[in-house]
Symmetry: C2
Subunit: 318 residues, 2 copies
């Protein structure tokens, strides 16, 4: 199959989802790939407007991400942070010197009234990418976690408290939960071939995107195939706190639960060979299943999973 | 003479004045030295609140300044600036990675409503200094230059335009030109031994301090000896654009002109041996003169000039 003429929208969070979008970016014509990125984790820190997921996506696609840590940039230094520590400033959020420049640039542009979508395009272009990396919103939509230790913002939960507090519920707060024009255009594109829910955390990375009603509706009403890649293998998540969170919220940790979570929004789901016994029950929900090896580490594996996803979209659409 | 029990207030700009305050800091008990620092060059850049003269003073006293450039920190890197350049941001102002941390810390504190005096003390303490580095004001007092190319801020003139525009006049703009409590206390201290005008640019570094009426009055009415160190040797300035500026404003470049400029505010002036022939005319103005070698490069020379200044204060006072 020829892949590079396919037009795809991917919904993506940070580290987990980036693995698949890197594969997609390598096999598609970049300008045909639109990535709707979660901005629910965005936060102000030391005066900077920080978009962790957008940065992870851009660094990954540009090939400058730190493959060891999974976040931040490769060949990074920490001079500014070291001096900030000496000064006794709040340094729970790791700010590398190169990384800092992106936050600084974005913050400056934001203060000048430039839309986050435009700023993101400027940064993407400077990294030599033609990929449409689209913030889900130009306005703040903030993920909060109701935990046994009280309500806290995503960064407080994820970074400062290292995901330790037990989660009761997840909330998305926004005064203006509107989809951007670029996001709407990407989802209404007549030449679109399909939508892919990346193997990101459904609750913390994809749900914030879906919390914007217009985006959810455009996906619900979409005629082109919509598939998800499960972030769960067996009874554990591939990456991050997904399984811990599911347990705390009383949800069985399985790809079946992921399929149930996305019911009405997806036509198919890619799950691991290991979970083949769940396929039947998922199919009974009207969701098609493709089995694959969904833990991908090398660039080749990421491209392989991306190709399989596109094949699956084609199968569903035909 | 015993120096370390002397209590001194020094008026200081950046690089030029720092040489003398380093000497003073080495021979005085640090807590007995108050440095009223020029904040007329302070500016907002990329969201940072930057105080070039305060930083130069602190870096110099802490022994972490870059002795080659005269500004910024030693062993500095430029990772953030490099990425900012790639992003096409405004990078005319050199921001080193370590230096950035100070601006970041100060800006954060400012946003939290902390007074510049308090922030400066925090930074000074973190660098292990007991010296009272005092911003002349907690409120913006901004130096502007009326030039043949139009009016411009200090940083635009000094850094961006490299002092090239011909200066017609200098203005200090402030909505609230009030002296800080710490500055007033230092100048009204009954145990004060004297005031030293450092060999900084009188027009761009000392005049902004004197533009705050209360400070000028407290110096005018001071009973303790007040001396200046001339920044001019022969017909040229020791450092920076002082002589260029004097010529453009129609002032003869000489230590005599400096003495005239400070008339009514100083009781004595230290000038270079080379300018001995000007001593008579200065003395006729009622200003005492001490001859010295005022170009100081090594730490020993800086301490020597500091000691001579304290000796001079003692001579005048006795």
């Amino acid at each position: 199959m020829k892949y590079n003429d396919k037009k795809i929208v991917a919904l993506c969070g940070g580290i987990g989802g980036s693995k698949l979008v890197l594969g997609l970016n390598n096999i598609l014509d970049q300008k045909n790939l639109s990535i709707i990125a979660n901005t629910g984790d965005d936060f102000l820190h030391l005066g900077f407007y920080i978009c962790p997921d957008i940065d992870t996506v851009i660094y990954t696609l540009a090939g400058v991400s730190n493959t060891e840590t999974g976040w931040g940039r490769e060949d990074e230094t920490w001079k500014t942070l070291d001096v900030l520590k000496e000064l006794g400033a709040d340094t729970w959020f790791q700010l590398g010197d190169k990384d800092l420049a992106i936050h600084l640039f974005r913050s400056k542009e934001k203060r000048n009234g430039v839309l986050l979508t435009t700023i993101t395009r400027k940064i993407t272009n400077k990294f030599g990418l033609k990929t449409n990396v689209l913030p889900m919103s130009n306005h703040p939509v903030q993920t909060f976690l109701e935990t046994e230790d009280g309500e806290m913002s995503f960064q407080d939960y994820f970074v400062r408290n290292k995901c330790k507090p037990k989660v009761i519920n997840i909330l998305f707060k926004s005064k203006k939960p509107v989809a951007t024009d670029a996001v709407k255009r990407s989802l209404m594109d007549k030449n679109l071939d399909g939508i892919i829910f990346c193997p990101s955390n459904p609750y913390l990375s994809i749900d914030p995107i879906l919390s914007i009603n217009r985006i959810r509706k455009l996906i619900e009403n979409q005629k082109k195939p919509r598939i998800a890649i499960s972030p769960i293998v067996g009874h554990d998540s591939v990456k991050g706190p997904t399984s811990k969170l599911m347990k705390e919220m009383g949800v069985e940790v399985s790809s079946l639960s992921i399929a149930k979570h996305y019911k009405g929004l997806i036509d198919g789901i890619v799950i691991d060979h290991e979970d083949e016994q769940q396929a039947e029950e998922i199919r009974e929900m009207g969701i098609e299943v493709k089995l694959s090896k969904i833990i991908v580490e090398t660039e080749e594996e990421k491209m392989r999973l991306a190709k399989e996803s596109l094949d699956f979209i084609k199968e569903i659409g035909s």
